[in-house]
Symmetry: C2
Subunit: 215 residues, 2 copies
């Protein structure tokens, strides 16, 4: 029953993805799809049977792990998504789980844990490590639930936030976004309030931490 689970790998780094594929095969399962981002995965699902488990990286170009998980939840609700990330970032974990991921493991896990996680999301429907449950509990204790950057920030604010991580002045950003500098003031003040920061440097650091901009 736990033999030969079909697995899809979604990661933009070819070398690492190929290596992971070898590992998955070594632990007795079958890699049916290798995709380099969410769009790629969707395309390959048109011509391949859906896998039982998707090992999903978060940071990818074109379509990242958050969006891809959400898409799978809507279109292939039976496919179990297992998030595979480099970072134990609290917001990233919460956001992935909220978007339908059944588990979250770090890239510095070991092979037995990978095996356990793949099999657990199929048999039990979830795989939670102590790290993940710890972060979840902390997030509940820390504040209100709505502190993930997807619901928190709207499209314009996200666009502004990216531009704020540069050496442009607010006036220049206003011109690029085709709004008044006062509107930019509004975006900035809203983000200061939402993200609990006080300066533009604080904004930039937040955006980098959350991978809203990539450096």
């Amino acid at each position: 029953m736990l033999e030969n689970i079909t697995v899809a790998l979604v990661d933009d780094h070819v070398l690492l993805r190929n290596g992971l594929a070898e590992l998955v095969r070594n632990i007795g399962h079958q890699v049916t799809i290798e995709a380099s981002n969410g769009h790629d995965l969707i395309a390959r699902l048109q011509q391949t049977a859906p896998p039982q488990v998707v090992l999903m990286d978060i940071n990818m170009p074109e379509m990242d792990g958050y969006e891809a998980s959400l898409w799978l939840k809507d279109n292939y609700p039976d496919v179990k998504v297992l998030a595979l990330s480099m970072y134990d970032n609290e917001n990233a974990i919460i956001r992935m789980l909220r978007n339908g991921a059944r588990g979250y493991i770090l890239k510095d896990s070991d092979t037995p844990e990978l095996k356990a996680a793949i099999e657990a999301v199929l048999t039990k429907g979830f795989y939670y490590t102590e790290m993940v449950t710890g972060k979840l509990i902390h997030s509940i204790h820390a504040g209100d639930e709505e502190n993930s950057p997807n619901k928190l920030l709207n499209a314009r604010e996200r666009e502004f936030l990216k531009l704020a991580c540069s050496e442009k002045t607010y006036k220049e950003i206003a011109a690029m976004m085709h709004v008044s500098p006062r509107t930019i003031d509004g975006y900035r003040d809203a983000l200061f309030e939402k993200l609990k920061v006080k300066t533009r440097v604080g904004l930039a650091i937040y955006a980098i931490k959350q991978n809203i901009v990539h450096v």
Copy 2:
């Protein structure tokens, strides 16, 4: 002659390292050492014969790829270091090559390129992709050679740079560093000039890119 090259893997992500190990074995070579950072590598070299090639990640805890490559250059000059990074960051490439790396490949290369790179650093002594040579040429044209952050920044400037990646005002930073705010102005202006940036956000982004501060 190109069969069964001995390879060491240095990467802090266990899963990816194990996957890489499988790949390396599949292309006909031998993984003799797996280490999770520079210190770990040094320790394992005490009880294992030195490999012919080291596949070296850059960002690692404890001792990163820059330091580890430098150490290998001094202690095992015959070992060929092949840098394996996620980013095509110009400064990272230059710094790794300056510290003794014989090549630089990205984690989104494919397996044939990995094979070619491993074998090239042994037979030809180097492996340069177009991307790497392009960045090198650009760096030569862009400015003087000494634009790596080790020699460029002194201890006080580095300390200031770290503090600048926060929401503190310059006055507060001055108090923390026990100098006058004008001295802070001097540090800032010197860094603006050296790092070719114009704003404090530019400083913060540079510091994060160069891993001078950790986010």
